[in-house]
Symmetry: C2
Subunit: 175 residues, 2 copies
């Protein structure tokens, strides 16, 4: 609902109806609407981590693992467009404050560790793993968004958004 209507466009009463409970019930589990939204964000982070980490296979070359990571993250978002829409909005909203960013976050931790290992194995350049995970996650995020918004335009222009995963690999792989 948030992905479709935005944070303001979906009242608590609507959320409650959709969940099949009364509006008041939400307030036994969440302090207020903001607390609910932050709760969703934390839940979503866990789900993403679960999906991507379960499908990672560290016996493969890091190049293959990178492409799997990219594909799995993309698949997850395309499988659950509403999660993607929510997450994409949240990250760019005032909710995503510095305070928020400094909270423990197992999805971020996983992503950082993932790229750290690529460096340790000597398969990618010695860059800050936080930078790398931000780079990759940002690009997957926005490609999924573009695919969603530009459906017709994409077909018309025969755009190859998957190219971007190659571009980025070309940029980060060890020489």
């Amino acid at each position: 609902m948030i992905q479709e209507h935005g944070f303001h466009g979906c009242p608590v009463s609507m959320v409650a109806k959709n969940a099949g409970v009364a509006a008041g019930t939400i307030y036994t589990y969440f302090e207020n609407k903001d607390d609910l939204i932050i709760g969703i964000y934390e839940y979503v982070g866990e789900e993403i981590k679960k999906y991507v980490s379960e499908r990672d296979d560290n016996s493969l070359s890091f190049k293959d693992r990178y492409y799997n990571y990219w594909k799995n993250l993309t698949d997850f978002y395309e499988l659950k467009p509403s999660i993607h829409g929510f997450y994409d909005q949240f990250l760019n909203s005032p909710y995503n404050s510095e305070e928020m960013q400094n909270k423990p976050n197992s999805w971020h931790d996983f992503a950082n560790a993932f790229f750290e290992e690529g460096i340790r194995r000597g398969e990618i350049k010695e860059l800050n793993p936080i930078v790398l995970s931000i780079l990759v996650n940002t690009n997957v995020n926005s490609i999924v968004r573009i695919k969603k918004n530009f459906k017709k335009k994409l077909a018309r222009n025969n755009m190859e958004l998957d190219e971007i995963s190659h571009l980025i690999w070309a940029g980060i792989k060890a020489d």
Copy 2:
């Protein structure tokens, strides 16, 4: 104000006060709040285009022009953090509908033409220029956002976000 409080967090009355006019006056220039927000979006696009295009010098190599483009866009956003905050939020919100995306947009046109020329000159790979401009603009956007949010963390971890411009250049330059 939108960058700080979000779309809902800033009532029309607040906008009016900040602008030094009465609330009603806004409605002689804009149909409603949505119309105002879309108006700001269009204005912002013009401003970005102006800043970046004025500083482009097509006598340089495309590599230099690419790095200028990157720098100028980054500078513009950092010079006007509130514009960046607004734009970043708008792009990821339900306001940025498919209908919105299909409206004429001189900033998008400029960016597309820019990368088209890089291809024509044979200095970058033969990719869809729309893909290229989305790639570059998305990454500049998110780097600026990260710099804004992560100030302390960045310093602590000695992160080199500027690396990303090189990574992307390595990815898109002609072999």
